[in-house]
């Protein structure tokens, strides 16, 4: 079952305290953290829905600042909140673009490139120093 409008509104308020607008980027609520991208997160992790509802219920009626103060003392609730809010925020492709993150890219190793471990003689001083281990005692 989808979250109710009041649950989403409560999450918006709390999420905007954690992630307000700044740095030329939108706040959590403006980025859809309690809307489309929350739904994406909960589709991926359906078990999180009950935990989120429980967390929101535990701070029902409190102001966002009061709710955060309470949840900081509740490791489980704080864990849910700090998974859902940044999780949904960074699932938004516009946010990833604004932050300069293209996602996980394949970066194949260039097999023809000279190895970078010894460019400019990087390893020379390590080798010149000699062994740094204690050998097996001979007795």
């Amino acid at each position: 079952m989808a979250l109710t409008d009041s649950q989403r509104a409560a999450l918006d308020g709390i999420a905007d305290v954690l992630i307000p607008a700044g740095g030329g980027m939108p706040s959590a609520s403006e980025a859809g953290v309690s809307g489309q991208y929350l739904d994406e997160v909960l589709t991926s992790l359906p078990d999180l829905r009950d935990a989120l509802e429980t967390t929101l219920a535990s701070v029902d009626g409190l102001s966002p600042e009061e709710a955060i103060a309470v949840l900081r003392q509740d490791p489980a609730g704080w864990g849910v909140l700090t998974a859902v809010v940044p999780g949904a925020y960074f699932v938004n492709p516009a946010i990833r673009e604004a932050i300069g993150y293209p996602g996980l890219e394949r970066r194949p190793i260039d097999e023809t490139a000279p190895p970078d471990y010894n460019q400019d003689g990087l390893l020379d001083s390590v080798i010149a120093r000699g062994p740094v281990y204690r050998p097996t005692p001979t007795d």
Binding site: G23, V41, P93
Partner: protein
């Protein structure tokens, strides 16, 4: 007898033993309580991967509760035991940091006056290191100055990348050791392995088949050779015959049906928690092969530290081989003036994507970034940070142990494991010293901010020491060939046998030992006692 050898556990140890035995014509049965890894869940291309990876590739069996997982009561432990129960074992989710032990690791008593020597030397194990490095497709560079010279791994090392090069230069200025990282990560097409794509998700299974994991490097050949592998086969206990020798194992299949698997010889390869659990659940009384009383004792799990450096330079270090770019063994050897004995290995790693920039680990509560300035703080860390992972040696203590938990049973009613583990003063001082030096390393490299990660419990990847190996049956469980002193057709080949833990990621030595043990077993086949 239908099978010559029964192996319990299809991780790296079991796979190495099964392959080598089958090559010499042994009829081998392997029972594995978990299943094959499902790489369709290694969805690194999906934007939600950072969120789902913990569920699909988690390390804590208490949280994961997948087929093959059993409960581990860790309420009296400073560290949580982590593992992956299935074909390939811990290699499926390991960081692939392929570290040989150093010569001093085998002579701890002689050199440092603590703990015990191993009943073998580095030189005894060296030929097996070379062979398992070929088998697992290891990349790296020979003649690391922290080890005796000799043959190195078959593949060239992963690129250092901008972060690795920057820290390497700093170490040169400090006069500190570093070396291109040894890794079970293929840098070229190699056998069944594909070249690494540097996506940085090694810890959540490799989506591209580039990581040297036993399900890829060993199991296909095992099956070609006729090894019989039964997955979802949970061993309840070993069968003890009237003459005191083992005759096989009782196991339960996925449907809950009990079976008896018979073999002349049994090899345990179930890790440093699973193996003592099985011995303690077998034979009645104090358990099987336990006349010394040492089964389960001397658990070692490697206290772990992390130090992050944040730089002006954009390394694009949210990914890379993870893995490690370089390692340092500058402070590995004992210097008693530091106030402790033994040492630790450092591996330089990426720090992950934007979601990781908000995490309590490694950043710590005092560095949390919620509230005004959030986006700029994420930008400051993302791609601009790298971290040293510190593997600290813990010394063996009998009070650190695995015992049975008769209350928390697995789904078939078999008692679970309980671990009791406390950090020693030596371990605490060791970790603090290394964290301070690692900060100096990153500052020398130009970090404008360093963060010492808070201590967390969920770092028990390395499970060692719980069926200690040695020559004296009164004080040890297995001999130098992995054979139980009390039960001469029962062997332990996994990390349980380690007399001391070293300060290294252990899979390289677990693998080399397993190959050596297996060939010793093959060589002594004519003298092998079997149950009547």
């Amino acid at each position: 007898m239908e099978h010559d050898v029964l192996i319990i556990g299809a991780g790296p140890t079991g796979a190495i033993a099964a392959k080598r035995l089958a090559e010499d014509g042994f009829r081998v049965l392997v029972l594995e309580q978990g299943d094959w890894p499902d790489y369709s869940k290694a969805t690194v291309h999906r934007e939600d991967f950072p969120l789902t990876a913990g569920r699909d590739w988690g390390w804590d069996p208490n949280l994961r509760q997948a087929p093959g997982d059993y409960p581990i009561n860790d309420t009296e432990s400073d560290i949580t035991a982590l593992m992956w129960n299935g074909v390939g074992g811990g290699t499926v989710v390991y960081a692939a940091q392929w570290q040989r032990n150093m010569p001093s690791d085998f002579r701890v008593k002689t050199l440092d006056g603590v703990a015990d020597d191993w009943p073998m030397t580095y030189e005894d194990l060296e030929p097996y290191y070379v062979r398992v490095e070929r088998d697992f497709g290891i990349s790296g560079l020979a003649n690391d100055t922290a080890f005796p010279p000799g043959e190195g791994p078959p593949l060239p090392p992963v690129p250092l990348g901008p972060a690795g090069r920057r820290v390497a230069k700093a170490h040169n200025e400090l006069g500190w050791h570093w070396w291109p990282a040894p890794l079970a990560i293929a840098t070229r097409k190699y056998g069944g392995l594909n070249p690494c794509q540097q996506v940085g998700t090694c810890l959540q299974a490799c989506a591209y088949g580039a990581k040297g994991t036993a399900d890829l490097t060993h199991w296909p050949r095992c099956l070609e050779l006729g090894v019989e592998l039964r997955t979802r086969a949970t061993v309840r206990e070993l069968i003890v015959r009237p003459d005191g020798l083992v005759g096989g194992a009782l196991y339960v299949d996925a449907e809950g049906n009990e079976h008896e698997a018979r073999a002349d010889v049994v090899i345990l390869a179930a890790n440093g928690v699973g193996t003592p659990r099985l011995l303690l659940n077998s034979g009645g009384g104090d358990g099987l092969a336990n006349s010394s009383g040492m089964v389960g004792k001397r658990l070692m799990m490697h206290p772990f530290g992390t130090v992050v450096g944040v730089f002006d330079e954009d390394f694009r270090a949210w990914q890379g081989p993870w893995g490690q770019f370089i390692h340092s063994l500058e402070f590995y050897e004992t210097d008693e003036s530091r106030g402790f004995v033994r040492g630790a290995k450092w591996g330089l790693q990426p720090t992950g994507g934007p979601f990781s920039m908000t995490s309590a680990y490694p950043w710590g509560a005092e560095n949390e970034i919620w509230g005004p300035g959030f986006q700029d703080a994420v930008r400051g860390r993302l791609g601009h940070s790298t971290m040293w992972g510190i593997i600290a040696e813990d010394l063996p203590e009998e009070s650190n142990r695995v015992v049975l938990d008769p209350v928390n049973t697995d789904e078939f009613g078999v008692p679970g494991a309980k671990i009791e583990y406390r950090l020693s003063e030596n371990s605490k001082r060791l970790v603090e010293f290394h964290q301070a030096r690692a900060q100096e390393s990153l500052i020398a490299a130009g970090a404008y901010e360093t963060v010492v990660a808070p201590f967390i419990r969920a770092t028990g990847w390395h499970l060692l020491g719980t069926t200690v190996m040695g020559d004296d049956p009164a004080t040890t469980v297995v001999d130098a060939t992995g054979r139980c002193h009390d039960v001469p057709n029962l062997y332990v080949f996994d990390g349980s046998v380690w007399p001391t833990s070293a300060g290294m990621n252990p899979t390289a030595t677990i693998a080399a030992l397993a190959l050596r043990f297996t060939e010793q077993l093959i060589a002594s086949r004519r003298e092998q006692k079997v149950a009547a």
